[in-house]
Amino acid sequence: MNQADVSKLVSKLRIKVKAEHRNLRNPKGPEGRIDKLRKTVTGLIKFERIEVNYNRGDEARQYAERLISEAIRHGDCHTPTMKMADFWLLEKELVHKLFKVLVPRFENSNVSFTKMYKAPKPQYSRNLEKAVLELRGNPYPDLFTKQPNNRLWIQNVLLEAAKHDYRQSKYAEIAQNMAKNEEPTQVNSEAPKSEIIEDIKTQ
């Protein structure tokens, strides 16, 4: 068993990687595909949040994750890593950003470095699916805001009061029914009571 442990040779990505790559059809063939992906990876590192077609975004995401994890693993004094960064980042000042900004940012993280959301598109259109690809810890506001709820908001106050009102009327009704049932016979006064209590519980 002298087979090398794969996880030590290649850094394990924290995203799901498809078994087959996507071809991203274009006139130049595989080379054109790599060109497209280089542009997208450069854009992602530069702007930190981009909107792209889903397939291209998902493909580029894998390369970007790999690039950042290599940079974290080996640092900036490692020739193959530097070559890789030089290849993938078309604007050379982004190499500095990769090692001086992104590596410290993601050094201690234990989740993926990027995030991808499905972007909205017109309902009955034949457009390609869009996605938003972003680096974690970017300076922009969140795309999804948490929906806070406050019971002091006017609509909640109104609904709460309506609920209280409804309950009071129900209690009064139940009390009246009980009074009616008690009057004629005292023998079977137990049965309706328990029914009523069940009713309240189910409500």
């Binding site: 406050n150 006017i154 106050v157 609904l159 009061a161 309506a162 009064a172 009074a179």
Partner: protein
Amino acid sequence: MKRHITYLSKTLNANGYTKCLPLSRFISTQEAVERRNHIFSLEKKRQIEQVGRIEKIEVRYKGIPKDTTFIMNKDLSTPYDCTKHLGQWYMESSALAVLDGSVYWDMHRPLTESCTLELQHFKVSEPQQVNKAFWRTCSLVLGACATNAFKTSVPVILHSFPQPDIRSGSFIYDVDLPSLPDWQPTHQELVTLGAEYVKFIRQNHALERLEVSAALAQEMFVDNEHKTAQIPSIARTNGKVTVYRVGDHVDISKGPLISNTSQIGRASITSVHKLTGSSESGVKQLYRFQGVALPTGVVLNHFAFSILTDRAKKLNSARSPLGPDIFGKKEDDMEVQQSAAAKA
């Protein structure tokens, strides 16, 4: 030739005409509204001119996007003017200003001294005061709507609206309709009233505030016997009456109110109830207009809103100006006692 509006009534007074010719008998509701609006404009202009030399004050704004300091004009600049420096979102969404962390201030009320400023909208973490201001504004606008909605042949005399009570489920305006002794509004009439209300809101009127002397307030509301009767007790503390203008409708309110009618979103007028009783001023009956509304931007599904409208159809139990014992509160008490007895 510029003359104050009171000039007219002064000459009338001097000639002793008012005794034999009470003004109220000769003007329709619409004319009275225009006259009141005109007096308001003149008084506002006078107060602005009275400021004289413009002094600067320092307003320290706290909140998003960042804390800043504005140099504003004393007695002229309002919190609304401050929001103009912040952005359109702040202009549209701010409903109420808080000065020095405790004083609630109308958005259109001039600032009088250096202070800190915070802005409140309907989704702040503690919105009680904004909600109250909203409810009060809804009542005031309901008064305006009631004045507009009827034909000119039906005199509409606004009486008053009580303190805002949101938990009661509806905002109220008590209106005197002397020519309609026994009016039961049909569903269609209520829908029309609601439509008038929404039409009025959609005109996006700012709510302007003005403090006037009791004498001028009397002059403004000379056609409205209920308001003239109320003014002395309102002005008892400092001799001033706070009036608000929305569109061309002027009304008395203690305030504070929200910034603009565009901040009232979904609204409906749910019912009109007749109040009977007798008070010292000799009013026999009033109509209590009730409605329910939500601020702009609050999305509530139709079922939940129908619960609110159904509840707002019931007579609001706020104290009536015609005496406390007209609601059959005794009956309610009886019911409560009965149920308590049954529970025991």
